[in-house]
């Protein structure tokens, strides 16, 4: 490569041409070659890898069936396990320790208060895997801020967990530059050394290809939209409310149910649900914002549905049926829901179990349900799929071979399926300390609730599953909701792919989320969004459209 003169196009960024890239990833042209030489840059490029090129590096799938699920996966849902299994009947999926006794530092997001580093759960896991893991738990809500700074520094932890929604700005190019290729350890049949990882579905692995190389251990998930509109079933029943079935019914119900005097508001911020009701393309990742419609690449922000969803949410705010703290973006929506200050809130489907188990300790009759998402006209909705894996763990390029193997030992252990000793330890911790058996059901102790939470869960996981044997009815409700909604879920053009946008356009649409929040709260108008969209087009949105179109023509979609 020859250094290029820097005096080119205005807000320019450098990028990589396909011809110079090592792996055979397909990259759209038309990107000015603007790269300075030096450093190791192999694999740093935009675009994606799929089809034949992906097949060369993806691990072989070898199914593992330890326990048959009580509710088999359907329509993209997770598999549900609701039957508790006695300790004595648990199977073993990792017969001998794969760890070498080495040490690893892992940085991970953490929602809540991280436990002490030497707690019994971490100790037991380290002991069982044979690797001394030191966790660097960072606040999950501001993880993206930490991530950028950490990756830009010269000292990165041995392994780093990165949620898919944090893959903004330059993070994807940082990943390509800083993390190791796991292909030599996992591609093809090599994955068979790690049987639990071999049972991870291929579409989850497909997402782990960053910059042409298999760089991550993915955490598989259901592709059915994960944002669920929850309602307080107990209060709905007590008050005799009917579940609304159209956007208009929701609004009129909300007006009726809100009583500021009694400190009860109908709902919290409903923007995400509004996007689902009005069939707006999935907002999870920038690539999912795009879809090919009648031969034209369309972005979610250009659609009528997007504006309609914002307008409906705006009406809710204007009618004062949304909790004021949600308007001020303060406090925690789930807490307001738990305390009964709001009757409907939307959040990740995981809240169904989390809130119920938390609230039942104080209120035995606490009950939450979830609406089926209705369409804009009250009919069936059209939903857009989220990605089949959304949390990734990477290993630093500086890690030694032994460290990479130790890391894979952790991932393999944590990816053990339901019904194994490994899964039980990973998910419930140490029996007698972190959880206790009551009538055969594993119930977490307070210590377990505080300590067995996150961390190891992110570094490896089996195929998408829901397994809460302590609340079997919730397990069933969760999976069935996914199955019903899954029937309406479509996949957009770039579903299942991990795409690195050319860096000069990565920040182009960053301000839209803020703008949405301004519009729904009545501080900006729908016309401001239309203006922002036309600015976006002229500042590179149209170029980006061509880039995505070409990408799709060249690589095809994943599904």
């Amino acid at each position: 490569m020859t250094p290029n003169s820097a005096a080119s196009a205005a807000p320019s960024r450098r990028s990589f041409l396909a011809s110079t890239a090592v792996a055979a990833a397909v990259v759209a042209g038309g990107v000015p070659l603007l790269s300075a030489c030096g450093g190791s840059q192999e694999g740093r490029k935009d675009g994606t890898t799929s089809g034949k090129d992906a097949a060369k590096i993806l691990p072989t799938f070898v199914a593992s069936n330890v326990v048959a699920p009580d509710i088999p996966a359907k329509n993209g849902s997770a598999a549900g396990f609701s039957t508790a299994i006695a300790t004595a009947d648990l199977k073993t999926s990792v017969p001998e320790k794969l760890g070498s006794g080495g040490k690893l530092k892992i940085m991970a997001p953490f929602w809540g208060t991280p436990p002490k580093g030497d707690n019994p759960y971490y100790k037991a896991m380290n002991e069982a895997i044979g690797v001394e893991v030191t966790w660097q738990n960072q606040d999950g809500n501001t993880y993206d801020e930490k991530l950028g700074a950490v990756l830009a520094s010269s000292e990165i932890p041995d392994a780093v967990v990165v949620p898919g929604w944090n893959l903004m700005g330059k993070i994807p190019s940082a990943i390509n530059a800083k993390f190791a290729d796991l292909g030599p350890y996992l591609s093809g049949d090599k994955v068979k050394d790690y049987p639990n990882l071999a049972a991870v579905p291929t579409d989850a692995w497909q997402r782990a290809i960053f910059g042409g190389q298999l760089r991550a251990i993915p955490m598989p998930g259901s592709y059915v939209p994960n944002i669920v509109p929850f309602y307080r079933k107990d209060i709905f029943e007590a008050k005799g409310y009917e579940l609304p079935g159209t956007p208009e019914e929701f609004l009129s119900w909300a007006k009726e149910a809100t009583s500021a005097k009694a400190k009860v508001w109908a709902c919290d911020d409903m923007k995400w649900t509004a996007f689902n009701i009005f069939s707006v393309l999935n907002g999870g990742e920038k690539a999912l914002w795009w879809n090919l419609v009648d031969g034209k690449m369309i972005n979610r922000i250009e659609t009528e549905e997007y504006l309609e969803a914002l307008e409906w949410t705006r009406k809710l705010y204007a009618a004062d049926v949304v909790h004021p703290d949600a308007k001020a973006v303060q406090g925690d929506a789930a807490n307001r829901f738990g305390s009964g200050q709001s009757l409907v809130f939307n959040g990740d489907i995981g809240y169904w179990y989390g809130k119920t188990s938390e609230q039942r300790t104080q209120k035995s009759d606490f009950e939450m349900g979830a609406f089926d998402i209705f369409g804009a006209d009250g009919g069936d909705p059209t939903l857009w799929a989220t990605q089949p894996s959304n949390i990734f763990t990477f290993v630093s390029k500086k890690a030694t071979k032994q460290q990479i193997k130790d890391f894979l030992a952790i991932a393999n252990y944590c990816a053990a399926p339901y019904g194994t000793k490994e899964r039980m330890l990973t998910q419930y911790g140490v029996e007698g300390t972190d959880f206790e058996r009551k009538d055969g059901l594993p119930i977490k102790t307070t210590q377990g609730v505080n300590e067995v939470n996150g961390a190891f869960d992110y570094t490896g996981d089996p195929a998408a599953f829901v397994a809460y044997p302590d609340l079997p009815e919730i397990t069933k409700l969760m999976v069935e909701w996914q199955q019903r909604m899954g029937a309406f879920t479509k996949k957009s053009s770039f579903y299942g792919l991990t795409i690195t946008e050319p860096t000069r356009w990565t920040n182009l649409a960053n301000d839209f989320e803020q703008l949405e929040d301004d519009v729904v709260r009545g501080r900006k108008k729908i016309s401001d969004v239309q203006q922002a969209v036309s600015d976006w087009k002229s500042q590179g949105g149209d170029d980006l459209r061509d880039w995505y179109k070409k990408l799709l023509d060249d690589t095809g979609s994943a599904s």
């Binding site: 250094p3 450093g39 830009a152 940082a174 004021p324 703290d325 308007k327 960053n510 803020q514 929040d517």
Partner: protein, 354 residues
């Protein structure tokens, strides 16, 4: 020195005849002693060689060394990082950030052009200045008034308790302060709840973009005004009681004593803090604004610091953010120099003198 005598003599002129003699005489004596001291202490240094001076002051130099190193490490070396403002910096070019700096391409003033062409930047500048002026008018006088108030309290116990109560909010984090305000003035807060009980709906001070600038100023006053009085109290404690007694003897009442004795004593400190504040004009709070940014939207809450943070840390556009930060630094330097000059013209000491 010559400047500072001017206003003092003017102040003296206002005073009734005899009083002026007493006060003026005292101040004059103090003033004279300073140049003399300076001569005695520093004049011979010219003849002493550098080495002798070093040996003589060795203990002092050793004592300042840790502080000097800290300033070098955390204040001066990072200044070098500003070069990325002239680059298209990509931290991922190398595993080492400094090497990445060397390898990033130079693009001259392009980043600055981008910043200056960005309407969001100018909007942030505008918000910053609006907040600065509001704070100057509404916040700045409050600690002075509080200091005068506290100073007039004679019973030490009451005084100590009052001071403790006023200092306390300074030690609360902004998260806590914003939460407390939300619980009181928010749409589901105590006031809104009380009003709702009496049939008034829709009270919510926390999400009103129009009121936001006043809201943050009030929060700042609540949190930091008490802390700000320390400097003024220190200045007040150095005022000789003789002055008050002499003034009282001459029949000066409470207000006259405050006007002619207390306030002149505070003047240099006020001027100093004012110069510092103006130099710091572009820094109007960061955490506080970041925490409430989403409650009122960018139009009301985006200031230069949050703008730099958003672009640098969130969008990882380090070069762009560095350029915006550098512009802020240069403007801030200009402001401090100007304010200092104005202070000199007004006959005050200011921050420094040539």
């Amino acid at each position: 020195m010559s400047h500072s005598t001017v206003p003092r003599s003017r102040a003296e002129a206002d005073k009734p005849g005899e009083n002026a003699e007493g006060a003026g005489g005292d101040a004059g004596a103090r003033k004279k002693s300073r140049p003399e001291r300076r001569k005695a202490g520093f004049a011979p240094t010219g003849k002493v060689s550098l080495r002798q001076r070093f040996r003589r002051d060795r203990t002092l130099i050793l004592m300042t060394l840790p502080a000097f190193l800290l300033i070098l490490l955390f204040n001066y070396i990072p200044i070098l990082g500003n070069v990325v403002a002239f680059q298209d910096y990509d931290p991922y070019l190398s595993d080492n950030g400094f090497v990445a700096m060397l390898e990033s391409p130079w693009i001259g003033l392009e980043q600055f052009e981008r910043v200056l062409a960005d309407s969001a930047f100018w909007h942030a500048v505008q918000n910053t200045f609006v907040l600065f002026f509001l704070q100057l008018v509404l916040y700045f006088p409050v600690p002075i008034l509080l200091a005068l108030l506290i100073n007039s309290v004679l019973r030490p116990r009451v005084r100590a308790i009052a001071q403790a109560i006023m200092y306390l909010p300074h030690f609360f984090s902004w998260v806590l302060v914003v939460t407390v305000f939300q619980q009181i003035f928010g749409g589901a807060g105590i006031i809104a709840q009380t009003l709702a009980d009496h049939g008034h709906q829709g009270f919510d001070l926390m999400t009103d973009p129009e009121l936001f600038r006043y809201l943050v100023t009030v929060e700042t006053i609540w949190k930091d005004a008490g802390w700000g009085i320390i400097v003024f109290l220190a200045a007040l404690s150095s005022v000789s009681n003789d002055l008050y007694e002499a003034a009282a003897m001459d029949g000066a009442g409470r207000w006259r004593r405050m006007w002619h004795v207390t306030l002149p004593a505070l003047r240099p400190v006020i001027a100093l803090l004012l110069v510092l504040r103006v130099g710091d004009a572009l820094t109007v709070g960061f955490e506080q604004l970041l925490l409430q940014r989403d409650a009122v939207g960018l139009d009301a809450a985006e200031v230069l610091d949050t703008y730099v943070w958003w672009n640098g840390i969130r969008n990882q556009d380090f070069s762009y953010a560095a350029a915006a930060g550098l512009i802020k630094g240069v403007v801030g330097l200009g402001l401090v120099l100007t304010a200092n000059k104005v202070a000199h013209l007004m006959g005050e000491q200011g921050v420094y003198k040539k």
